[in-house]
Symmetry: C2
Subunit: 101 residues, 2 copies
């Protein structure tokens, strides 16, 4: 079992020196690219490719958080503390499906 915080730290240990050189705008380019690859994999319903691309999107998100100096786990549990942050219910009872979470 891996904490969100641990995964972010692992990404820091592996990639921070490269990501700092890339710069945060260059990193967004790759994050968006990975999201597109994930969408392709989901459309194709290829399980191994999906796992691979979900891992990559999470890795770039955690790496971006490292360069932006944001604690991803803290941010996530601060906003999603056991219920929908909008309607304050679990499960969510927000009125429209067209709306975001």
């Amino acid at each position: 079992m891996v904490h969100i915080h641990e995964f972010q730290r692992l990404m820091k240990q592996i990639y921070f020196h490269r990501d700092s050189e890339r710069g945060i705008e260059g990193m967004f380019y790759w994050l968006v690219d990975e999201v597109k690859e994930l969408e392709e994999a989901v459309k194709m319903q290829e399980r191994k490719a999906m796992e691979n691309e979900f891992a990559d999107v999470l890795a770039w998100l955690a790496s971006l958080a490292n360069v932006a100096n944001i604690d991803l786990e803290k941010a996530a549990i601060s906003k999603y503390s056991g219920k929908c942050p909008k309607c304050k219910e679990k499960p969510c009872r927000c009125p429209s499906l067209l709306k975001k979470h």
Copy 2:
């Protein structure tokens, strides 16, 4: 401390009934939208907004993994098991910054 798996389960408890109705293509629309909002927040260097948007991107990613029936934590540690999956080093020693992780 929150495991990636626990956060994904929380998203399932809060949103799975809505996300299943939305469908996975509709969910990508919102994931991409959240990535754009994150990029804006990072450009503005607004800390609270950045935390908020990092949380949202992670929430949509975990929700997508729920609908695609993928274990995000398992996928992440399977690909990033302590080192760069390409050069097999920590820190990464891949030759070009232009390349992705």
